[in-house]
Amino acid sequence: MSNRRWLFPHWVLNPEIPILQILSAEPSCRPEPCIIELMSKIKALAPAKQRRLPKISLSRANSILLILIILINTYVILAPLFPVVTFWWEDHHSDRRQALTAQVHRAKQPVGTAPVNQPNHVIIPSMLLDQPILEGPISQTYKILAQGIWHWPDGSSPDKGGNTVLIGHRFTYTQPKGVFYYLNKVNLGDEIALTWNNKPYVYKVASIDVVPPTQTSIQDNTTDARLTIFTCTPLWLPKDRLVVVAELEQN
């Protein structure tokens, strides 16, 4: 077989085509004299098989590709809207908003009644948020932001006064519900409670803005004690930043 390999096209060597049977059926046959006759016999068998196989696999591959394209694009369009349903459900079928508002009111009480040994965390009732605040260097930005709210290390902190900056994702395709997904639900005058080193701080929202990512001045230190929270906006193509600035109400 090996010495004849160069004589035959690839489909002749196809194991599904009975080339050996044809050769053995004609013992007097040698490749040189009767090659054309053999080829015609083999060709009569081969084309039917050759034509059918690729057609089936191509149409199947096309169907699979079409399904994949539809799935990916549906996810691209609908994924940013998934958390809206959970917010609606949580807001209408639980008393979470009331519970968080009560926690903010408790934080306004004299320092002596504040809970002790709690991690630094932030409570925003209007967006049903109660999350710990994570800290870490700028080199670990992606890792920390994937876990939750990040306290900007180059900014101030509530106990020092000045501008305390909190950063968090709003939406990513790998994690649709970011910590600040509902930051757009915050309104002027809403209260934000923050526990820092076991001490409560209550802020009142003073401004809500959308700024370009080049406006780094929102992170600058200030003489007054304030809390700056920012995240990405809009959902699908986050080219800007949604900034909420709250002023200290009570220390």
Partner: protein, 35 residues
């Protein structure tokens, strides 16, 4: 249109969809401010 042509068009569209998904996911993670 032949199946072969359809295959290449669909493959191209699939690649474009994947690139779009990667681009949007990448841009949604660029949160830090820079001048």
């Amino acid at each position: 249109m032949s199946e072969k042509k359809k295959f290449w068009i669909l493959l191209g569209l699939l690649l474009l969809s994947i690139i779009l998904l990667i681009y949007l996911n990448h841009s949604s993670q660029q949160l830090l401010l820079s001048r």
